[in-house]
Each structure stands twice: as structure tokens, then as C-alpha cells.
């Protein structure tokens, strides 16, 4: 499965059960990457995406996702599923936010960095995207 995830400087994802930040252009990038392939999201993430046929809301997506499927991760731990991950699109806010839920699987320690690019978000000056592959 292919993971898409966005973290702050400390790897943070959530604070007080709320996402640390959001950005409309980042979501557009996510959809651009996914194309028409299946994108799994949890019920927590539904407010970020419009209703589309290829977007599947499934709180157990880490169990169900197949090799070619994409998963947008905000509120899940990944370490137990690391062997299923074949690509990792890691976005960086380049900001420091408070967090009490963080990414537990760091692709830079186990996967090959294939590409990186920066772009300006709708409310973030400089978002970095790193693409890792196994």
C-alpha cells in the first residue's frame, strides 16, 4: 500500500484529537498523486475530501488496502503494517505545532528517497514532499 501523510517538525499528526493543521492545496496534491486509483481514508479525514467514487471511507483501511491502493493517514499507527508499505509520500508542514499523537514509522530510516519537491500551500509558505520507495 502507498501511504500519504503530513507531519510537523516533530513528526506530529494530532493534538487533542484534532489535526494540527490543514491545507487545501496539499489535499489537491494528494488527489493529483492518487489520480483515479483507490484512496482509503478514515472517517476522521472525511471533512478534507469531497465525496468521490474512488475515495473509500474505511476505519480499518490498513487491514484492507492492497499493494496499489493509497491510504491517507492522520490518526493511525503504521509500525505494525510496515511490511505492507511499498511507497510513502511524506509531506512536511515545516512548522512546529503541539502534538500528542505522532507518526510512529519514519520512512527515511527504512526506505529509499526517490524524489522531493517543495510547493506553496494555501496557508503554508513552504510544504516539502518526500517520496520514499522500498
Amino acid at each position: 500500500m502507498k501511504i500519504l501523510c503530513v507531519i510537523d517538525d516533530e513528526g506530529g499528526l494530532l493534538f487533542n484529537h484534532r489535526r494540527v493543521s490543514k491545507d487545501r492545496i496539499l489535499i489537491e496534491k494528494v488527489l493529483e498523486i492518487v489520480g483515479n486509483d483507490k484512496l482509503y481514508i478514515s472517517s476522521f479525514s472525511t471533512s478534507l475530501f469531497e465525496n468521490k467514487d474512488h475515495i473509500v471511507v474505511d476505519d480499518d483501511y490498513l487491514e484492507h488496502a492492497q499493494d496499489h491502493d493509497y491510504c491517507f493517514v492522520e490518526d493511525k499507527k503504521l509500525l505494525a503494517y510496515k511490511d505492507k508499505i511499498n511507497m510513502f509520500y511524506l509531506f512536511h508542514w515545516n512548522r512546529h505545532y503541539p502534538s500528542d499523537f505522532s507518526l510512529d514509522y519514519l520512512p527515511e530510516n527504512a526506505m529509499q528517497l526517490k524524489d522531493s519537491m517543495e510547493f506553496v500551500g494555501s496557508s503554508h509558505d513552504d510544504i516539502l514532499l518526500e517520496v520514499f520507495e522500498k
Binding site: 487533542n16 484534532r18 493543521s21 519514519l106 527515511e108 503554508h124 516539502l128
Partner: protein, 344 residues
């Protein structure tokens, strides 16, 4: 004669009373008349109602007094390594009817020259459009100028920052003595800044208001705050996006602070740095200067990226992947590319 005069006076008195009673009657015909005493009570009740309404309106307008009735410094656990602690399960101590129109309010300094609570309903309209200017002329209560190597190198080593209660990026309030306290670099950068960032970016993204309050908490007559209570709530979605209530510690690891007057001393390993230049501490960190020639670089064997030694990517790097370089050329010649986060 006398009796006739008395009767005449009584008649006049009675007539006067009757006329007064008619004039004060305001109740509709269908309702029983109220006595003057009852009328006074009704008027008094109406005044109390009006006062209550006014108070409710004032509750939603700038709060200038310490509003928390359930919070006390005694309830805060001792600092144990995390820059903040959650208070009241992250629920702010806000009143019910919050003003969602943009405003900002700063308490007057108290008799010891200390700041009080600062409150704002932050919208894009309040956010600054220009770069921050100097605040070096402001000396908040307990201010001292002292550096420690354990705090940082050069100008990043000053123990204290002039610390905005409501961050400049939120309301553009800069050299306002009512908005600046003597805060440690740790409080400023590790404690408060992440929360300010979260609120700022939410407002920039959604253009929706956030009710925001910061209260410096002083122990007794101390001139330096023990910490600040930060509370915030996004109003458009009743806190679904932004909701927090945290106490940020005004501490600096490696330094012991005398909160009575701001003096300090190093712990066994942290010695004060000599004052080598006249640079003043800024409220927020300045962008990194160009890298000295002999700085070490750290490479990641897996990603083939190299980083400055203080890059946050280095702290997350697996030790097995680390490789060091004395200079940029050495890293590049071995096929490593510069990190886009720390730009070595």
C-alpha cells in the same frame, strides 16, 4: 374652627394621595394594581435584569481580569521535561457567549509593573501585514540580560526573550508593554510558539475566528511569571478544530531561576556565557546565519541527504544510517544532496 381646618387639611392630603396613586399606575387594566412598594421592587428587579444583560454583554467583550476561578498554580505539577501541561482536559475556562467580532484587549500593568491577562478574538483582520519591528526598548518586570551556552550559541543563548503574551503573528501587537513578559527562550520557542503556529495557520486557512486568551501566572509578588495559561477555541465550529487549555512552564533546562527578581544561576554544567556583543534577545528566533566553514554535517546513508548538525531530521535519523562530513564539498563529492529543510 380648628377642627374644620384639620378636616380641610385631611381632605387636601387625601386628594393629593389619590392623585399620586393614579399617576403611578402603569399596569394594564386586566392585571391587578401593584402597590408602590411592589412597583419599586419591580423597578429594582428590572434594573438588576438590565445589569445582568450588561454583564453578559461585557462577558463577551474584552476580559481584563483574571477570569479563571478553577485554576491555581498549586494545581500545576512540577516541570518534568515537557514544555506544557494540559489543564482542565484541554477545555478553556471561557464564558458561554463569546464575542466573535475581532478585538484584542490587554490588562493594565499592576502595581509591580506586571502584565495581566490578554484576550482576543483573532481573525485575519487583526493579523499583521508588515514585518515585526524592534522591541528592545521594552523591559518587562524581572528583566535580566544573561546568556548561557546551554540555552544556545551566540544571540540564541540569551536566557530571556521579551515574550509576547499574544504572539505577533496573531495580532501584530509588538512593542506593547502590556503584551510582553520576561519569558525564557524555552517558554517562547518550545512552549508557546507551537500553539501560536497552530492558531495562525488555522485562521489563514479557514478565515474563521479563534477566541484566544493568555494569562501570565505569577506566584505572590514575583516579578517573573511561573508560566502562562494559554486557552483557545475556534468559534465557527464550536472548538472542533482548535480547542486547548495548557499551562506553559517559564523554565529553562539547565538554569535555575529566581522568579522573585529574574536573577539566575547555572546548574552544575551550565555556565553563564560572557557578554561578547551588544546583541539583544529577540522575542522569536531569527533565521539561521550562514554556516561556519568548520561546522559538521550529518549524512543519511539511506536517503543520501546531508544535514546541518542541528537539523531536526538528524534527531529522527537512525544511528545506523548516520555518516559525518567535515564540510559540504566532502558530502557532495560522495553523492549526498543537501537537505531542503536545513539547507546546509
Amino acid at each position: 374652627m380648628k377642627l374644620k381646618f384639620q378636616r380641610f387639611l385631611s381632605a387636601i392630603l387625601l386628594a393629593t394621595l389619590l392623585l399620586t396613586g393614579c399617576a403611578s399606575e402603569t399596569t394594564p387594566k386586566s392585571e391587578p394594581k401593584t402597590s408602590e412598594v411592589a412597583q419599586d421592587k419591580k423597578t429594582e428587579n428590572k434594573k438588576q435584569e438590565e445589569q445582568k444583560t450588561t454583564q453578559n454583554k461585557e462577558a463577551s467583550t474584552p476580559v481584563t481580569t483574571t477570569p479563571q476561578t478553577n485554576f491555581s498554580l498549586a494545581s500545576i505539577p512540577a516541570y518534568s521535561g515537557k514544555p506544557y501541561v494540559v489543564v482542565n482536559d484541554n477545555k478553556p475556562f471561557f464564558p458561554n457567549n463569546l464575542n466573535n467580532k475581532p478585538f484584542e484587549s490587554y490588562s493594565n500593568l499592576d502595581s509591580l509593573g506586571r502584565c495581566g491577562v490578554a484576550t482576543a478574538c483573532i481573525t485575519k483582520a487583526l493579523m499583521p501585514t508588515t514585518k515585526r519591528g524592534s522591541i528592545a526598548d521594552v523591559k518587562p518586570s524581572g528583566w535580566q540580560t544573561v546568556r548561557y551556552e546551554v540555552v544556545g550559541k551566540g544571540s540564541a543563548g540569551y536566557l530571556y526573550n521579551r515574550c509576547h503574551l499574544i504572539g505577533y503573528q496573531l495580532t501584530g501587537e509588538n512593542a506593547n508593554v502590556k503584551n510582553l513578559i520576561t519569558g525564557t527562550r524555552y517558554l517562547n520557542i518550545e512552549g508557546m510558539l507551537p500553539f501560536e503556529n497552530m492558531v495562525t495557520d488555522y485562521i489563514k486557512e479557514t478565515n474563521q475566528p479563534v477566541y484566544y486568551r493568555v494569562t501570565p501566572v505569577f506566584d505572590g509578588n514575583n516579578l517573573v511569571a511561573s508560566g502562562v495559561l494559554m486557552e483557545a477555541k475556534s468559534l465557527a465550529d464550536n472548538g472542533a478544530s482548535i480547542l486547548f487549555n495548557v499551562f506553559c512552564y517559564n523554565v529553562q533546562p539547565g538554569v535555575t531561576i529566581n522568579y522573585a527578581n529574574g536573577t539566575s544561576s547555572a546548574t552544575s554544567s551550565a555556565q553563564p556565557s560572557p557578554q561578547q556583543n551588544t546583541q539583544k534577545a529577540q522575542s522569536k528566533p531569527q533565521p539561521a546565519q550562514s554556516t561556519p566553514v568548520n561546522a559538521a554535517y550529518i549524512g543519511n546513508k539511506n536517503t543520501k541527504k546531508f544535514h546541518r548538525s542541528d537539523c531536526r531530521m538528524v534527531t529522527r535519523m537512525s544511528p545506523a544510517n548516520k555518516v559525518t562530513f567535515d564540510n559540504r564539498d566532502s558530502a557532495i563529492s560522495q553523492g549526498y544532496n543537501p537537505c531542503k529543510i536545513c539547507n546546509p
